[in-house]
Amino acid sequence: MTKAGIVIVGAGEAGARAAITLRAEGYDAPLTLIGDERHAPYERPPLSKATIVSEAAPAIPTIGDAAGLVGSNIDHLTSVCVVSIDRSARNVALSNGRALAYDKLLLATGAKPRRLAIKGADAAVYLRNFDDSLALRGHMKAGRRIAIIGGGFIGLELASSACALGCEVMVIEAAPRILMRGVPSAIADIVASRHRAAGVELATGATIAGVSRTGDHHIVTLANGRKIEADCLIAGIGAAPDIALAEAAALSIDNGIAVDGRLRTSDPHIYAAGDCASFPHPLYNGRRIRLEAWRNAFDQGAFAAKSMLGAAEEYQAVPWFWSDQHDLNLQIAGLVDEGRETVARDLGEGALLLFHLTDDGRLAAASAVGPLGKIAREVRLAEMLIARRARPDRQALASPDVKLKSLLAA
């Protein structure tokens, strides 16, 4: 039996979690975790928030500090890229000239921010990694004018952080409203009102005609002729899965590296997990989806580890993510666009919970916004109902007096 071991490409949440899980499950052959950054693996959710706004110099939010990577005999290579995969020889070539053999290979390459294809926007700042976050922290000084292109989660979380630091913030969004992708309008409206109340200007339906720059002075000209001046230009216009290696190795690609229910690619020795992978979801008739979310990366990293060790289960965790903006928490469980009918539950204190039901009354998704303490439990319970393919009574869902926990027992 060969013991070349397992090689993991990408030391983000999915890759690091896979490495930790492999060791926790007793895998004792060579294990290499390859990251192109200089840092130990770290969590990304704080990068748009705590890392930027913390008064003290931010510490890197390392993954698995106590029981994970340290002392687990995981060979973590930093500042190294994998340049190619030789599938027949089962090895990868590294940017430092080395080659590494594998028995199993996990691609956890993540996603990369989409770049603005606008002349003059070359100095726009993007957020993906810890160093990007430190750069943004440097830009967001009180009184500075910050223009953010993109009213999605990254753009809005950065708007919230900039606002907290006393910046003058403008968000420019081409779509008619913020959070167009995957967030119901009733929820997005509450988020938009909160931003406006905090002094953030949201320019929606705004097409950019041009961007110019003199030193640190940026001017964004909108199609309607308005000129927006800024000391810092930030772009958060989505991310694309990093599929370059997989594509060059002729693995199946379908909105990301295509994997099966066990997170295997079209090569049985190669797996993929996290932001880079698209997978069939059994809760939604096998619909192929790709998620860019902390929880998905965490869950799939651990799942891929067990799958590589022979587990036969299919991945079926309910998609779930959260966002923090100002004092609001937003959470979505399931796929909102699978719903045909919406039932609302007023949680009080301005918190709103929406249930999204399919034609035949199955709970497909739940979305909520409000203080964390008002919504977190309810969305978690809804997530359990979604996982059980529950068909809850509409009136019970709408009534705040009916505990969701009681519906779980039904």
Binding site: I20, P61, G64, A67, F298, A302, L372, A376, R377
Partner: protein, 105 residues
């Protein structure tokens, strides 16, 4: 010491199989009631990322952090798997005259 008992809340301030937040001085705690009316107390903040556990969900004897689903057994404070790996501190609880007291000594 007897003097260390702090009157935290009324016993029925907490629903069955639920949790509330209790602040005392500069410290914050979570107080739990099981579905068979036994009370427990732990530190309030998750050991992973400083999120208050009173915002989380109680299922049986498990409290789940509202952000990352880190789980603890609130009877013992034991961390029940990633991403949490550090146990929670627990505190003795007694119920007298319909009030819940915590021993923070």
């Amino acid at each position: 010491m007897a003097d260390d008992w702090v009157d935290a809340c009324a016993a029925d301030d907490i629903d069955e199989e639920d949790v509330i937040r209790f602040d005392h001085g500069a410290r914050t705690f979570a107080i739990y009631r099981t579905d068979d009316n036994v009370y427990f107390a732990t530190d309030g903040l998750c050991t992973h990322e400083q999120v208050h556990l009173a915002d989380g969900l109680v299922m049986g004897s498990i409290i789940e952090c509202p952000k990352h689903n880190g789980r603890f057994d609130f009877r013992t404070g034991a961390a029940k798997g990633a991403p949490v790996c550090v146990d929670l501190a627990t505190y003795p609880v007694k119920v007298e005259g319909g009030r819940v007291f915590l021993n923070l000594g």
